[in-house]
Symmetry: C2
Subunit: 213 residues, 2 copies
Amino acid sequence: MSPAKARGPYAKTAARRADIVRAARDGFAERGFAQSSLRDIAQRAGITHAGLLHHFRTKDELLAAVLAQRDAEEWERGSERVSEAKAAAPFFDGLLRDHQREPELMRLWAELAVAASRSDHPAHEYFVDRYERARARTARMMGERVPAGPPEGAPDPETAAMIFHAVLYGLQVQWLLNPRLDIGKALEHALRLLLDGPAAPSDPSSPSSATEA
Amino acid sequence: MSPAKARGPYAKTAARRADIVRAARDGFAERGFAQSSLRDIAQRAGITHAGLLHHFRTKDELLAAVLAQRDAEEWERGSERVSEAKAAAPFFDGLLRDHQREPELMRLWAELAVAASRSDHPAHEYFVDRYERARARTARMMGERVPAGPPEGAPDPETAAMIFHAVLYGLQVQWLLNPRLDIGKALEHALRLLLDGPAAPSDPSSPSSATEA
């Protein structure tokens, strides 16, 4: 079997899987995870129920594929823009807005991240590794901004990255509970605090000497 | 029926409920939620299975009671200490350490907060209200520190409170995924950044002029 011949059926399988994942993503986003059935998703993807089961045995497996793909797309889009501090704010602002357009996927992601912290969860290694990589990437960006090391009192790049990803995650949970919150503004402030470091502690009654950036 | 007479049976019911909640908390913390049964919890509390069902119909209902009580205790302990910025850091440091001693309860809390964001979830109003109150209390503390308003470029107290609670929540999720992370240090840094505000934007190559607090 030559590689050229193998490509055909493999490409077909990959395309079929992609169709199913896309249909599932739309279905979960519109109807919610609990209200979606594998049968509905198969119909949406234009294949039989048995055909879908050939690729994904359970709805949980399909959910993991949907969220991993959403994450991979964001990762791809962020790969250049997150390496530079100036580009980070607009990138993450856009990311939050994308998530807010699909609140059910945001919720499913947040739920899965916590559930996956159990070491026997099927997505455990995925989420552990994913957060390591996300923190490492952010820490590199933070570190490049201050090549001589962070200013006195400021967190090191690894700690700043940990704080940033905590803010990104925690703001979404608060927004799911109260969609009137302006989490975009909060994320922007958090990023600026992390990039600029803390002010020298001062008497709060003294006039502010901060200048516009 | 005089009030004095009513007090007896009421007190007995409350005490019995408290025994059950304590037993459930210990059981969930030790064995995990999924591995605990109402039958085990009844045995641990020294009552019959039927007796327990008289107070709590489902394991989910009991879980909500356990987490609400844990939250109420923390709320009570924090009520004075969180009103002052200086006392906030040691209070929240202690809070994180307490949570780290019971990782399964930390995880159940984090999971329930996300699940409860669905408007038809039985704990929806509890969590919505709980986060409003937590942010309001933190915002008051932040606001009292800067009576003349936040310095230029710093978040307003409400936004700072939103960021702080995002950090508190998000750090715990990262720790559940990787218990080697020093989230206590990260929380301390985040709180300091939020209380002191951002540094005036400066050339990162210039020598730091920050002074020790």
